[in-house]
Symmetry: C2
Subunit: 299 residues, 2 copies
C-alpha cells in the first residue's frame, strides 16, 4: 500500500525541464549542470533507536545511506546538507551525530555544508540531502535489457545485526565499474533484494528472474535463520533490506568477464537474469513468480 | 544558548574546497559550479500545528521559507527535494502538503524533484532542500560596511497572525535589486529584525544601529500590541520573527536613490545604519545598545 501511495504522490509532480532525471531513480539529476541529488530522512524508532543505538552510529548511517544512493547513480559525492529535529532534553546528541558523520565525510571527500538545527518536543529525526556529480555516464535504473545478468556486490541479509550501521557505501566500486565496464542499469539494494530487483526491472520495462541458490548470504542472515523457524537465510536476503549493496544489470558477456575477473575488493556475484516477461521471478529456466517481500518506504 | 550551541557545531565542520560559501550564510554555494543550496526543516508544534493549521498551509510554508533563503542570496530557485516523516494515522496528509507546494513551485518555476517519504509513530516533520543559481553576484551576509543604510522590504511583526503561512518569498525583489543596484549584503528576516540585523552586522565585521521609529509595522503587529500590555508593535517587529522580508545593506547614495524611486511592488524602507562599533544599537546618533530578542533556531 505504501508503495502505491508514494507512486500516486510521484505522479502528481509536474514534469519539469530542470530535471534530466526526475523522481523514481536513486537520485535526481538536474539539467543542465548535471548535479546529482538525493535525500534520505531517518526517524527514531524506524531506522534507529535512540537509547539503544549510539548517536555516532546514527550519524554515520544517515550519511552512509545517502552515499549509497549516489553510488547507485555512479556519482561522486560533493556536499551534504544536514537537517535535524533534536529532542529537547537531548539536544547535545547533535555533536555525536556530527562525530559519526565526519570520518565518513572525510573518507568520501564530502563537504558537510550546513543545514538546519531544530529542537522540539518529539523524537530524533535526521535528514541529509547529498549532492554529487557523475564523472562518467550516470547509472540509471532504467537501462536493463532482457538477457542482461543481475549482479550484486557483497553479501545480503541480516543487516540489522550490525551492517546497517557500519556498511561501506559502494561509491568506489560503482565509479570503477562505470569507468571500465558497460553497465546497463543499477540500484542500491536498500529495501530488500526482491523489492529492489523488481524496481530495477520495472523501471527498465522488463522482468527479472532471481536464481535463489546463487544469492550470496551473509553470516548474519544464516545466524538469524538458525534462530527463527519462519524465515530462511534466503528469505532474509530477499526481504530484510538495508544491505546497501549494488544491484547491477550487465550485458551477458561483460558480466561473465567481470565475474571471472572479480576486480573489486568485495565479491561480485551473478544472482539472476533479466527477462522479457514483466515482474519478479525465480529460477534459471521455467521461471516461477517470486513474491516481493522488501521493506517499502521510499519515494 | 541555542545560538552558542549551533555555533559550536558549525566550528566543527572542516573547511572544504567544495564550498565557495559555507555554513553561516542564508545558503551554501558549491564550488566550482555555483549551486546555491539551502535546507529548512519544519516540525509540528514548533513551526506549525497539525490539527490547527491546514496541511496546505504547512506544505506551502515549508517551500516558502526555503525560497526566502534563496531570495536572501539573490538566487533563482531550480529544484526542491522534500523529505517527510508522516504520522502513521495521517499519512494521507502528504497529498495536501504537496497541494500546498505545487502553486508556489509553479509561481517560482521550481521543480519538485522527489525526496523521501517515511511513515512513523511521531509527529509531522517536513524538510526541504532547495537548489538554485545566482544569475548575478551572490548576495552574502558579509559585505556590509559602516555608513551603509539598512533597508527592509515590506512590513514587520505579528507574522503568526497569518503572514508566516501566506508570505511572498522576495525572490523577484532580490533578483531585481541585485541586477540593477549595488547591494553590499543581505539576509532574510526570519528570526526577528533584531537578531537578523545583528547577524548581518556580525558577519560583516561591523555594527548596526536601528532607528526604531522608522520600522514599518504591520497591521498584525499593531493589533497584537493593542491586546497585550507587555509587547509594543515595535517589540513585535524586533522579536517576532517569520516576516521573511529582505534586510539589505546598501551604500548610502544608492539607498537614498532606491528609497526615493521605490522600484518594487512592496515598500522599501530605511530603518538603520551600519556603524563601526560591533553589536546591535538603537538611535540615529548617540547610539544606545539594543537587546537581541529574536527567535533562535538556525544554523
Amino acid at each position: 500500500m505504501e508503495i502505491e501511495f508514494i507512486r500516486s504522490l510521484r505522479k502528481r509532480l509536474p514534469h519539469s525541464p530542470q530535471l534530466a532525471v526526475g523522481p523514481g531513480d536513486d537520485a535526481a539529476i538536474l539539467h543542465p549542470d548535471g548535479s546529482v541529488v538525493t535525500c534520505d530522512l531517518l526517524c527514531d524508532g524506524t531506522h534507529f533507536s535512540v537509547g539503544t543505538d549510539s548517536a555516532l552510529s546514527i550519524g554515520r548511517k544517515t550519511l552512509a545511506v545517502n552515499l549509497s544512493d549516489l553510488a547507485a547513480m555512479a556519482a561522486q559525492p560533493i556536499a551534504a546538507f544536514l537537517a535535524v529535529a533534536l529532542p529537547r532534553d537531548e539536544a547535545s546528541i547533535a555533536e555525536n551525530l556530527l562525530d559519526g558523520m565526519l570520518p565518513l565525510a572525510e573518507q568520501f571527500d564530502v563537504a558537510l555544508a550546513g543545514g538546519d538545527t531544530n529542537v522540539w518536543d518529539g523524537r530524533l529525526v535526521v535528514s541529509i540531502t547529498l549532492i554529487g556529480r557523475c564523472p562518467h555516464q550516470p547509472l540509471l535504473r532504467s537501462g536493463a535489457k532482457p538477457g542482461d545478468h543481475l549482479l550484486v556486490t557483497g553479501v545480503l541479509g541480516g543487516s540489522r545485526m550490525g551492517k546497517h550501521f557500519d556498511f561501506t557505501p559502494r561509491i568506489a566500486e560503482a565509479l570503477y565499474l562505470q569507468k571500465h565496464h558497460t553497465l546497463h542499469a543499477g540500484i542500491d539494494c536498500s529495501d530488500g533484494l526482491s523489492l529492489d530487483a523488481a524496481r530495477l526491472a520495472e523501471e527498465s520495462g522488463c522482468g527479472v528472474a532471481i536464481d535463489l541458490p546463487a544469492i550470496p548470504l551473509s553470516g548474519a542472515a544464516r545466524e538469524m535463520a538458525s534462530k527463527d523457524d519462519t524465515l530462511s537465510a534466503t528469505d532474509r536476503a530477499l526481504g530484510d533490506g538495508e544491505d546497501f549493496e549494488l544491484l547491477l544489470a550487465v550485458p551477458a558477456d561483460e558480466a561473465k568477464a567481470l565475474i571471472a575477473a572479480q576486480p573489486l575488493a568485495t565479491p561480485l556475484t551473478k544472482i539472476g537474469t533479466f527477462i522479457e516477461a514483466p515482474g519478479l521471478w525465480q529460477g534459471t529456466e521455467n521461471f516461477r513468480p517470486l513474491p516481493v517481500t522488501g521493506y517499502e518506504h521510499r519515494i
